[in-house]
């Protein structure tokens, strides 16, 4: 297991902290053989507040204060000292802890500056510093909390190393399996796995975001392409059919023409000849109209910018002409001429314009009102004007050409109409001929003609639709290629997400297995220690910690008996649990236990005194005990390991600490 900590408490100094009056200090025992420090004090002497003081100094919190309201507790500042202060007078309470592996390496100091207010006090501010021993001497660290948590004694596990023995049984109250779970997880040191988990999870979320942005729409586009292609195929088929029908109609008409051309009746032959000639002319005329229309369209498209900007052209010409008429652009006299005259100190009328005179100032003022760019504007405006005048001519020309075109179109259409009329007349003459088949033939011919015209219209429409669909398909295909490229990128992101998922699952499994293994080890060790420490040796068979971290104590009859344990038995269970936690954790931290044996009767107390140091060997252990706990028999079992012993003596002035090791 990773070793973290391995700092020892070397010395503590309490100044005016709660019961502790003045400066009280102790040095902790640090040798390997004698690693136990004992503080003996009666109830109220300050044992628990000694523990609180350490927690306050290191972490800024006093976890074991009584549950009474603040006003009914001892103030943080020694009350005797407080009572001696005058209104508004300042003092301080301070705790300093020196830590190190062998020699002092860190000094952690927390000070509360207090002001007397009425009968009470106010904490004005609190300072917290950590000084580190370096080659350059003692140096204050910039982030003291960080150093305490990461280099010294991590806050999250403090409750398992600095604890009040009498409050330990909270772990085993019903419904508090969360405390057991937290304890197991905290000591399991799975922080690295949790960090890896968090990092992978963040990476996965990022990849998901990127993948969402890719949002390939290929399916949608492919569907659209399919639909449009189908429509295009339909239109093309229709066009093919259409063309086929047209060819049939043309062929049928031609066949009829051949019949009529060679008809035995001269009148019919002549009428047919006229018809064919007229049709030829009509075709030529239609082609001419189409050509003119196309020409007109191109002309309009070419001239369209001028037509749309006609207003601007006209207005601009008006403005330019107005400026010229008003003599502003160009100015009537070139300003360089006037400047030349001024240099000679002469006006154009030969008046003297000496520098500084009123007349000169007036002329200079007039000169400044002429825009400096006036000459350039005039040149540009002149060029612009020529072009705009050209535009107006072009527009006029266009207007004339449009009228000409309209007239031509009207004339052509009239001609066309005349020819169509003649064609209808010829058709009527042929159909009304005496020979009966003529009527049928002509009727069929007219129908074919009409059908052919419809087919040609439909053909034009189909051409346009096919053109539009072609254009649309081309765009969709470009879009599809773009989306497919995105899809390739999306696949990469998807693979990344899968990889993260795999790693997260693996980490989760590793964490679960690791934690479960630790749980089982804690369970085994707790059971071992409990059964060893408990005085009713045959009463209990097992201690279990299940997957949900519920602790159960199984009696010899196989029944759950946690709820029926006495307070002493629960304390033994708690101590066993703590010892087991310590064994599996990788933290090499000092342990401080307040009142470890308080609720335990004589025989098991001796048992604990004998076993606990063994369970916690190679650990700097500090025991805060009452004189009733620290019996001669108990002392006997641990004396070989006790390095230093102190007595906490409380009187009206407060608590004083004295070294009672020499007295032993």
């Amino acid at each position: 297991m990773l070793q973290v900590g391995n700092m020892k408490l070397l010395k503590i100094e309490l100044k005016n902290y709660r019961q502790y009056n003045g400066v009280q200090e102790i040095e902790f025992s640090t040798s390997i053989e004698k690693d136990i420090t004992v503080l003996v004090g009666s109830n109220g002497a300050g044992k628990t507040n000694f523990l609180n003081g350490i927690l306050w100094c290191l972490y800024g919190e006093e976890a074991y204060l009584s549950k009474y309201p603040e006003t009914e507790k001892l103030p943080i500042i020694n009350s005797v000292l407080l009572s001696e202060l005058k209104e508004g007078e300042m003092t301080e309470c301070r705790i300093k802890i020196i830590l190190g592996t062998e020699q002092p390496e860190y000094i952690v100091e927390r000070t509360a500056h207090i002001r007397k207010v009425g009968q009470g006090y106010r904490i004005v501010d609190t300072t917290f510093t950590v000084n580190e021993s370096t080659d350059r001497g003692w140096v204050e660290v910039p982030d003291p909390s960080f150093v305490v948590n990461n280099n010294l004694l991590p806050k999250k596990v403090k409750d398992y190393f600095f604890f009040d023995g009498e409050r330990l049984d909270t772990f085993f109250k019903t419904g508090r399996n969360d405390l057991v779970k937290d304890a197991v997880l905290d000591v399991a040191q799975i922080g690295l796995i949790d960090k890896a988990f968090t990092h992978l999870d963040a990476s996965r979320s990022e990849l998901e975001e990127y993948a969402k942005q890719m949002c390939p729409q290929t399916t949608d586009i492919v569907d659209k392409i399919r639909v449009h292609k189908k429509s295009l195929d339909t239109f093309r088929e229709e066009k093919t059919t259409n063309e086929g029908e047209k060819r049939k109609a043309i062929k049928a008409i031609e066949e009829m023409n051949v019949v009529l051309r060679d008809y035995p009746i001269p009148l019919i032959r002549e009428l047919q000849r006229q018809r064919e000639s007229l049709e030829k002319e009509t075709k030529i005329m239609q082609a001419e109209i189409n050509s003119k229309t196309e020409e007109n369209k191109n002309r309009i498209l070419s001239e369209a910018p001028l037509l749309f900007a006609q207003q601007a052209i006209s207005k601009t010409l008006y403005l330019i002409d107005k400026e010229i008429a008003e003599g502003r652009h160009p100015p009537p006299i070139d300003d360089s001429y006037i400047k030349g005259l001024l240099e000679k100190e002469l006006c154009i009328c030969k008046t003297q314009l000496t520098k500084g005179t009123l007349a000169r100032k007036e002329v200079e003022s007039l000169l400044s009102t002429i825009f400096p760019d006036s000459k350039y504007i005039a040149d540009e405006a002149k060029n612009c004007r020529y072009r705009l005048l050209d535009f107006m001519k072009q527009i006029d020309n266009f207007r004339l050409k449009s009228i000409e075109y309209e007239n031509q179109l009207t004339a052509f259409n009239r001609e066309l109409e005349t020819r169509n009329l003649k064609l209808r007349e010829i058709s009527e003459k042929i159909s009304k001929h005496d020979i009966q088949e003529m009527e049928v033939l002509e009727s069929n011919r007219n129908q074919l003609d009409a059908a052919l015209k419809d087919l040609e219209k439909a053909s034009t429409l189909l051409d346009d639709r096919i053109g539009r669909l072609d254009s649309l398909l081309s765009e969709l295909e470009t879009k599809l290629r773009k989306e497919l490229r995105k899809e390739d990128r999306a696949k990469i992101y998807s693979a990344g997400i899968q990889f993260c998922d795999g790693c997260l699952n693996a980490l989760s499994m590793i964490k679960d297995e690791l934690v479960d293994e630790i749980r089982k080890t804690i369970e085994t060790k707790t059971e071992e220690y409990f059964l060893n420490l408990i005085w009713k040796k045959k009463a209990y068979a097992n201690v279990k910690i299940d997957h949900d971290y519920n602790i159960s104590v199984i009696n010899a009859q196989g029944m759950q008996s946690l709820g029926s344990l006495s307070s002493g038995e629960r304390q033994i269970l708690a101590l066993s649990f703590m010892a087991a936690l310590y064994e599996v954790s990788g933290f090499d931290m000092p342990i401080i236990i307040d009142t470890p044996l308080g609720r335990i009767s004589e025989e098991p107390r001796e048992n604990i005194a004998r076993c606990l140091p063994t369970y916690l060997k190679n650990t700097q252990l500090t025991l805060l005990v009452t004189d009733t706990e620290y019996t001669e028999n108990v002392k006997q079992f641990i004396c070989d390991r006790v390095g230093i012993e102190y007595t906490l003596e409380y009187d009206e002035a407060g608590t004083k600490i004295s070294n009672s090791s020499m007295e032993r």
């Binding site: 007109n296 369209k297 309009i300 498209l301 001239e303 369209a304 910018p305 001028l306 037509l307 749309f308 900007a309 006609q310 207003q311 601007a312 052209i313 006209s314 207005k315 601009t316 403005l319 330019i320 400026e323 652009h329 825009f371 760019d373 350039y376 504007i377 540009e380 405006a381 612009c384 072009r387 705009l388 535009f391 527009i395 266009f398 207007r399 449009s402 034009t460 429409l461 346009d464 639709r465 053109g467 539009r468 072609d470 254009s471 765009e475």
Partner: protein, 140 residues
């Protein structure tokens, strides 16, 4: 000569890039294979005619200014639009002239696009013709 520098290029709105591309690339567009600057001049004049001036959201330059400068008709037309909006003094400020033209073209291009691609079969050019004739016949 005026101190104001000529612009290097004229900008189109990137958010409407597709409209421009379609008009010069689509087989059914009357502007197929035309240069962008030619469509630009028409779009500016159509935008002016229909009062469709619109600021560009995403300026992307594709038309070198010298292309416009070489074509005296094009430049004079843009100058006329700008002068009619302001005063004759603007004639020296080609940057401002181009800026005004860009905004009118930005508004006009959508109008032309809808005319070409939104219309029924075969009438894209006819509609444009009709608009142009209306413009011709509107009293000045």
């Amino acid at each position: 000569m005026s101190n104001i520098e000529n612009p290097k290029e004229l900008f189109l709105d990137g958010t409407k890039r597709k409209l421009w591309d379609d008009l010069v690339e689509s087989t059914i567009s009357p502007f197929l294979k035309k240069d962008y600057w030619e469509v630009f001049i028409l779009a500016a004049s159509v935008g002016y005619y229909h009062n469709l001036r619109e600021k560009l959201k995403d300026k992307q330059g594709t038309i070198p200014y010298r292309t416009i400068e070489k074509n005296s008709t094009a430049l004079a037309l843009l100058e006329a639009i700008a002068i009619s909006e302001n005063s004759i003094e603007i004639i020296l400020n080609k940057k401002e002239i181009c800026n005004i033209a860009e905004e009118y073209a930005n508004g006009g291009i959508k109008f032309i696009y809808d005319l070409v691609f939104g219309s029924g079969a075969g009438s894209a050019a006819k509609l444009l013709e009709s608009e142009a004739i209306d413009a011709l016949n509107r009293p000045v």
